[in-house]
Symmetry: C2
């Protein structure tokens, strides 16, 4: 079920998956959740790129991060100027090569881009779920993603791939459903949040929840949104996504005007940038979704099941791992990836690790960088070879 | 004019300055400010510890940081359980030894602890200054502190000492009034804020200014305070004061209860700590003061007068410098202190530099630490010797 239009002349770069259309899968069997509640029914919105082979062995699942969604590659409309959020890495000839892999990318449960979440209709009450939507965990996401795999007839993924919170989902897959994961790629992630990571999330939550427009999460019923809180949450988050050096070289101490204004209007370029990021986000993202995503981050800690011993928690995993970190990432720094690598080694699992030199901080996982591409591509090519997948088409074959 | 009670039996540690009483100095000559406005009159609240010698050569000025004030050492009331904010370093036998130095510690202009600031009466309007209080800069503070020195009959300070924003004031003194500074101690500071530093300040400002209770700064006239905004500002600030490691070893991922609550009540210990810090601060500190203090931080950049060349800006300085940084300080990391050290060396100034191993992040400047004490004490002892100050009294002399 390819839904990408890669016809020549579609006006897109040759290595784009072209125009894509999301699908919605509906699930009627109740989903039990870690919190003890269950979702009676739910929908997941997803996109696919490339073609599922007859043996159904070439599927790659993309797991998204905090504010991500299903639209990872290509374009929704001919007039779109920006492609999906991971277009740098998904497409013909890219590390996740749609000439050989069938890529599935979904919006997670609890999201606000089309999957069942706080903005969805709650069948039990007849109104929006809002703050009544249960707090879902990384394990719950894995369970819902497994339902989507069943729906698509995918018994085992050629690879699971994710950055940041997406990487945590990949890690949980290898523990919960090891037999369904042939390869795992975990980028710019951590096996569990530090106290500082939780602290930043808590600031974001307090910003949203203390906004008078939040109304205990029932803002939609008051025809409003907690814009101020979401803006602040995004501003704080954004600081942690960029490296100090990247911020410095991008903005430095540059002023927007020639002189200091001795007031509180926007003055430094970095202020202008942050306010813009915050404003844009505050009207586009659902506050209840943001809250539950941060909680899923805080709660994630597979080692807890083994009294803090991560190697023990990883014992069920059966696949080769690629772990990637970035030198200037201070949200989930290289040391956190190395914790995971060390635990995988102690658990006797095959693991490749690359710490990529990049000035871009945590955001580096979204951006093209030659060594990152090379490592990622080599791992995926080896994975394809192991699975006996066809070599990608070349220009002369096309 | 000693105002400390060091009588034996006062019930305080022997190395405490004991009970202290603040003084207020009133200045009637208008103070021109960097913003182009002027303050027609102003008051500064200050404390002193130790005794000014007959030659008036043993005075040390303490410059405070973002949320600091004049009460740096000793106790205000016999029932006080906590001493002033820098009591670890000021007192008999401590690095700033009140047996040989006469210590002056003030609340800066624009503050909210007794010096003229936004909560003061504006003689021109008959109401509180509020947001009409001018944005003061580090240079303005130095000018007002020089007035205080004149008032006290201090021609030249034996030393100026400050941590963080306080260190910036010391640096500005050495440029503006080099003849009045015999020694300069600049701790955990930076010659100018980075884009990331400004970004964090901007989040704090947006939090305060977007609080509906802020009322454009006229919250007092609305009988309210922007508590939510101040709380968020303090929470963000607090994260930057602690090192990731200190937060990790202090709180880790410890929960307040046995289990996750799958809701938004306080759950992790680090959340509880941050909320408490924020709540306490939000009722004790003035929002307009907080805003102007962050602006003074952002604006500070002596190198701007020399097209970015810090060594050129430091040319007027005439005194020996002690620069101290802390290994885990990520607000103003050691690299920022080294920038200053390098510029001082290029400018041909005598400079001692110590990068102190500490787990406490930026807050380390407030805490006792043997190597920090030793370096600080050695510099001050040498300074006293150069100035021909008497050796401190010893127990047997007392």
């Amino acid at each position: 079920m390819p839904d990408s239009d890669t016809r020549p002349g579609a006006g897109r770069p040759a290595n784009s998956v072209g125009l894509v259309t999301p699908h919605v899968a509906k699930f009627d069997t109740p989903l039990p959740l870690a919190c003890g509640r269950e979702l009676p029914e739910f929908e997941l919105i997803f996109e696919t790129y490339g073609t599922l082979n007859a043996e159904r062995t070439n599927a790659v699942l993309i797991c998204h991060a905090l504010s991500g969604h299903h639209h990872a590659a290509g374009y929704h409309h001919p007039d779109d100027t920006k492609p999906g959020w991971w277009d740098a890495h998904i497409g013909p000839g890219k590390p996740i090569d749609t000439d050989r892999f069938f890529v599935v990318s979904l919006n997670n449960l609890g999201g606000c881009h089309g999957s069942t979440g706080p903005v969805s209709h709650n069948p039990a009450t007849g109104r929006q779920w809002g703050p009544d939507f249960p707090l879902v965990t990384v394990s719950d996401w894995v369970a819902s993603q497994a339902r989507l795999a069943d729906h698509l007839g995918i018994e085992r993924f050629a690879a699971l791939v994710g950055g940041s919170l997406g990487g945590m989902q990949v890690l949980q897959w290898t523990i919960t459903h090891p037999e369904r994961v042939a390869n795992a790629v975990i980028i710019a992630a951590t096996p569990r949040l530090s106290a500082q990571n939780i602290a930043f999330n808590e600031v974001a939550r307090q910003a949203i929840r203390s906004d008078p427009e939040f109304h205990g999460g029932w803002y939609a019923e008051h025809d409003t949104v907690p814009k101020r809180g979401l803006k602040l949450a995004r501003m704080v988050g954004h600081i942690t996504y960029l490296s100090e050096d990247a911020m410095g070289s991008k903005f430095g101490r540059d002023l927007r005007a020639d002189d200091l204004n001795f007031g509180f209007d926007v003055e430094f370029q970095v202020e202008s940038y942050l306010r813009y990021q915050g404003d844009t986000f505050s009207t586009a993202f659902d506050a209840n979704t943001y809250l539950l995503m941060t909680k899923a981050l805080d709660y994630f800690d597979p080692s807890a099941a083994c009294d803090g011993d991560l190697a023990c928690a990883l014992a069920p995993a059966q696949c080769p791992f690629l772990i990637v970190s970035f030198t200037t990432d201070w949200r989930f720094p290289p040391s956190r990836s190395r914790e995971l690598v060390d635990a995988l080694i102690r658990a006797g699992k095959p693991v490749s690790y690359a710490n990529i030199e990049s000035p871009h901080g945590h955001d580096a996982f979204l951006l093209p960088e030659p060594r990152y591409e090379a490592v990622f591509d080599a791992f995926m090519t080896r994975a394809a070879g192991d699975l006996g997948l066809a070599a990608p088409r070349t220009e002369t074959q096309a």
